[in-house]
Symmetry: C2
């Protein structure tokens, strides 16, 4: 309903591929195993609009290709490393997508430098910039707090070592 998913030829000629996903993509359990999550998780992410496989077979099976797998890895990184919840991740990836659109529009604009177009691009770029700066600030704050914590823990370890040396 929401996005066009080209149907993959189920008997397509197999292009030789390395350790990446076969040209026609992985099945849901393969993609899940590769990322270390469950198939249920992938269906759930799709339900939330977070990750939709770029292809389906004629029978209706999901096919995850390289780009999908990369997006999945990004989602998991945001979740595990930054501790974002799925809604925050969606917002972040959406804004990243908008930034890509801005870049594309910027390049298209070079051919036709209208003043009106420039003004629109400026607005979009400023929005993207403020989003990135805000995220950078948040990350810096979190990094600082985590680093302070790390120092405390490391100091504790050092004191343990000194006490042990005394014995």
């Amino acid at each position: 309903m929401t996005a066009a998913s080209p149907v993959v030829d189920p008997a397509g000629a197999g292009e030789a591929t390395g350790d990446t996903a076969p040209a026609d993509g992985l099945r849901i359990s393969g993609a899940a195993a590769r990322a270390g999550v469950s198939a249920r998780t992938l269906r759930y992410y799709e339900e939330l609009g977070l990750l939709s496989p770029s292809g389906h077979t004629s029978g209706g099976e999901r096919r995850y290709r390289d780009a999908d797998l990369q997006r999945l890895d990004r989602i998991l990184e945001l979740r595990e490393v930054l501790g974002m919840n799925l809604e925050e991740i969606k917002g972040f990836l959406d804004s990243e997508h908008r930034l890509d659109e801005v870049r594309d529009a910027y390049r298209a604009k070079r051919d036709e430098p209208t003043d009106e177009a420039r003004a629109q691009q400026r607005v979009l770029l400023e929005e993207a910039l403020s989003l990135n700066e805000e995220l950078t600030r948040q990350l810096d704050a979190k990094l600082a707090r985590m680093d302070a914590f790390r120092s405390k823990v490391a100091a504790n370890a050092q004191r343990c070592r000194e006490l042990l040396d005394d014995l």
Copy 2:
């Protein structure tokens, strides 16, 4: 049941205190407001054995003193900054408490240097050390991944600035 909570004199002489908790401690809603959580949360933490107020009035009201508030701040930091769940936090704070005990025992031991006592201290110290080192490793890994992410975001921001400068 689990810990001795000395009863606070309800009509005690008020020692002059600055912006810290009054000498006889804060009520539950005061402590909660100060930390930005609800009273329910504090009761829940107490139920889990995470945080028990150091005092009660003769009538049975909880009184949170400075040490309690500091512990609460630590709990929230572990939760928000490190993303620990309450069980992990309990384990971490418990092991920290054990480290304190080891330190005290170590000092007491200096007066009576039994070989047996030394061996026990060594075991405890090594346990504490390995706990701290493990946590340090985990923090380092997380910090590295977060920092890599920060770099990517900062680079994005920089590209936005360059595009804006071109206009």
